[in-house]
């Protein structure tokens, strides 16, 4: 159990993320209105805010699952400018630096757990099947799911699927990890297993941006808290400080609503 979740080669290459004046509209609705945000290499940023505040959209702009309408996104040394045509090669290069974990896991149901983790490595890193599967087994062992390797994801619980999804992304040596409400579809006691893996990853020094409603996780694990509402960042800073003493009325209302749940 002493194998690190992230490899040494990867550790040296952990990247930061710079977002500058980012905007995105869906039809007439301005979902992101000039967002600027800086994520230091190796830091954990928690994104919170009411639903519809644009936090998921912001996250999805980092790996261009959504195409921004204005502004720039920089991951490591690669900058994407909105409005410029992104070459397929650059798009893939960006996505290969950034791992993402979804609320609904999105494992491939027709592959076994092992193939879910090995297949992307073979395609993206050009690893041999043996090498990729060996790495997959090590990582599965690491998150306590070695015995699930040959089953299909449908046979795994939600918490297991989400840990597999995390491992699938990590196997590609990402330099940044994005988490889009990773525990929202899980029962609280199951979510804990997933949060434990995320906490370990944070301790190992991965750059993480986490959209979450888990306030305890945000306070204990994240280095930086960003509160969003209606497409703006309304407040950001030290997590404990903001939670204890929000400057904005809007933040106060949101926090009390979440904590009272």
């Amino acid at each position: 159990m002493n194998v690190p979740l992230i490899t040494e080669a990867n550790e040296l290459a952990i990247a930061g993320v710079e977002i500058s004046d980012l905007s995105k509209r869906f039809g007439d609705h301005l979902v992101l209105d000039g967002i600027s945000m800086s994520v230091k290499p190796g830091s954990v940023t928690a994104l919170i805010g009411p639903s519809g505040s644009g936090k998921s959209t912001l996250l999805r702009c980092v790996n261009l699952l959504e195409t921004p309408d204005g502004g720039t996104v920089t991951v490591g040394s690669q900058t994407i400018r909105a409005g410029e045509r992104v070459k397929d090669r650059d798009l893939l290069a960006l996505r290969r630096q950034v791992g993402m974990v979804f609320q609904s896991f999105n494992l491939f149901p027709h592959f076994t757990v092992l193939r879910n983790i090995a297949f992307p490595q073979e395609r993206i890193l050009g690893r041999s099947r043996e090498e990729a599967e060996a790495r997959a087994r090590v990582l599965l062992e690491r998150v306590g799911l070695a015995e699930k390797a040959d089953q299909h994801p449908g046979k795994c619980s939600g918490g297991q699927q989400q840990r597999i999804a995390i491992v699938r992304a990590l196997a590609l040596n990402p330099r940044v990890m994005l988490f889009d409400e990773p525990t929202s579809a899980l029962d609280p006691e199951v979510g804990v297993e997933v949060l434990a893996v995320m906490r370990e990853l944070a301790d190992a020094g991965m750059t993480m941006i986490v959209v979450t409603h888990e306030m305890q996780f945000a306070r204990d694990v994240s280095d930086h808290l960003v509160v969003m509402a209606e497409g703006h960042i309304i407040e950001e800073g030290d997590p404990a400080q903001i939670m204890a003493n929000p400057r904005e009325e809007r933040t106060r209302r949101f926090l009390s609503a979440v904590l009272e749940r």
């Binding site: 996505r95 999105n106 491939f108 992307p120 449908g154």
Partner: protein, 213 residues
């Protein structure tokens, strides 16, 4: 009775040939049409939608007549088998394109998003992530279509393809006093004997695939 059975059975290879070739054309031809139906470009989508609806909106027998009697380019004319195979093949393409499209529509959006986020290219995502899942849900419909195609292949008899129905018709005409509708009963039995195992196999395959899901 024995003669009728023999004559009808002599048409069986032709029935199977027309069905198999038309189905093969449909399986392949449905792919580009389906891709067109899912295109990001509106004009392509509309054009393919128009073609699919046009093909499906005209009865198969009319398409076969149009191909067989209506096409003459210089000295070129379709012989009856070619007209039947291509006519039914093109019709199958349209139906199967729609079935494929329906299969893809059931694959959750998250699947292609996850593939994109991992950095998989468009071709790999399509071929290895989306298509296998789409095919699994489409499989029962594809099998059902194959069964209806087997029966519809009898339309080829109207332009002179010597399949089971053609032979049954001929036999009935040549033996008006004795044959009655016996040859058609025989043909019906043969169609059933082929259809039922296909249907059963398809259902088995379907439940098995569902289990592994």
């Amino acid at each position: 009775m024995g003669d009728a059975l023999l004559v009808v059975l002599l048409g069986l290879p032709m029935t199977l040939l027309v069905t198999a070739l038309a189905f093969a054309i449909g399986l392949v031809g449905g792919i580009p049409l389906m891709i067109g139906l899912r295109s990001r470009i509106r004009a392509v989508r509309l054009a393919c939608r128009f073609v699919v609806d046009l093909i499906r909106g005209v009865p198969p027998i009319v398409w076969l007549f149009l191909l067989y009697f209506g096409v003459s380019i210089g000295a070129f004319r379709f012989d009856s088998l070619t007209a039947a195979v291509w006519g039914l093949g093109i019709i199958s393409s349209a139906y199967l394109a729609e079935i494929y499209r329906g299969g893809f529509a059931t694959v959750p959006r998250g699947q292609s998003e996850a593939a994109s986020a991992l950095g998989l290219g468009r071709t790999v995502t399509f071929g290895r992530v989306l298509a296998p899942q789409a095919l699994r849900t489409a499989l029962p419909s594809i099998a059902t279509y194959l069964l209806s195609l087997l029966k519809d292949s009898s339309i080829a008899s109207t332009i002179g393809v010597a399949d089971m129905v053609f032979n049954a018709t001929m036999f009935a005409r040549q033996n008006p006093a004795t044959a009655g509708i016996v040859p058609f009963f025989i043909a019906a039995a043969v169609y059933l004997i082929i259809s039922v195992p296909v249907a059963v196999t398809a259902r088995r395959l379907d439940t098995r695939l569902r289990r592994t899901h």
